[in-house]
Amino acid sequence: MRDTAGKLEDELTDVLAGEIILLETKPEETLDTTLSSLKTLTSGESPGIILTSTRPYSKLIKLCRENNINTEHLSFIDTIMMSVGVPEKNAEETTAVIYVSSTSALTEISLALDKKCSNLGEGGFLFIDSLTTLLIHNSPVALTRFIHYTLTRLRVRDMGALLTTMEEGIDSKTRAEIVTLCDKTVIL
């Protein structure tokens, strides 16, 4: 795992202080950036929620452990397992993870986020991996409304967020609107 997060140290501190940041990466650096960002964000005791639409929870938790990322204060919302037809009994909800029926079930994802946020206590952060994948399964307007809704609810709770997307992974108009909804945009 390369230390891409070293370049992002100030921004990751801002996320933990309640700011909302959009992070654009090159496609080949996405995984490294995800893992090194998570490592930095979890180095303190801030609780975090990972919304994953790129990798299933089982794979992501394995990668976290392999890279010595502290998962003690992390919980997950997995939008993939059930959408690819994994039998429901294998996708049981635990305290660590909520499985959502599909990456296009934005209302269900919102409800899962609400549930996770209410268990979080003070502060905390949301990590969304990734907007590019969410856009494959949702219309630009639906996704932007979801992001607007989610970020507003985070701001009311003083929670920060790191939203990841691939360089040129979303159309320019959708990108423009989402950039304005965030406090800062970082292009790696």
Binding site: R145, H148, Y149, R155, R175, E177, T180, D183
Partner: protein, 196 residues
């Protein structure tokens, strides 16, 4: 606090010049690069309130007013001089209690409700020089069809122009500036303040 720069433009000086040369009763579009959107918005409000002594109404569709008030305090903007229509919290079903300086609208962001809320809040703007700031017209389009969004823009540019508001300012990201509906709105404004 140091001046805000975007590229080679000293935005702080530009805003002082552009907002200062108009005495009263104008409608302007503020065209902003998306990556500097928040900073330019804050600098605009700071210029109006702290430099020129305006009080105002901030119609916020982008972010909750509680977040804006924190940002105002960080930037040294007197938040007591601004009241809010918090449509962002309304859309996210996170409304609080209405206060003297903040009102909400139903979550659908219906234009009639926004219009009524605007009329309701206008008398609460204290002071001689008054502004209205809309953030943002493109976020409103996530919730309302184009025709309704344009109807609200027209309400701002035509109807409210006849009130005692000195300045009505709408912001738009640069990416949207070439869209036909934005050009329609620009046509009804007195000026475009372009930040590049």
């Amino acid at each position: 606090m140091s001046d805000l720069h975007v590229g080679e433009t000293n935005v702080t000086e530009l805003l002082k010049e552009e907002l200062g040369r108009r005495e009263e009763n104008y409608v302007a579009i503020l065209q902003v690069p998306e990556e500097k959107y928040l900073q330019v918005n804050l600098e605009t409000i700071k210029t109006l309130v702290e430099e020129f002594g305006y009080s105002g109404l901030y119609i916020t569709i982008q972010r909750p007013h509680t977040n804006l008030m924190k940002l105002f305090r960080k930037q040294g903007i007197n938040a007591d001089k601004v009241c809010f229509i918090d449509a962002a919290s309304s859309a996210a079903e996170e409304t609080g209690e209405e206060t003297e300086n903040c009102t909400y609208v139903p979550k659908e962001l219906n234009i009639n409700d926004l219009t009524r809320a605007t009329y309701r809040m206008l008398p609460d703007i204290k002071g001689e020089k008054k502004f209205l700031f809309l953030d943002s017209i493109t976020t409103l389009m996530l919730y309302q069809p184009l025709s309704e969004t344009l109807r609200f823009a027209e309400f701002l540019t035509r109807t409210l122009r006849k009130t005692d508001l000195s300045a009505i300012i709408m912001n738009v990201g640069s990416e949207f500036s070439k869209e036909n509906f934005i050009k329609d709105i620009v046509f009804q404004c007195d000026e475009i303040i372009e930040i590049r």
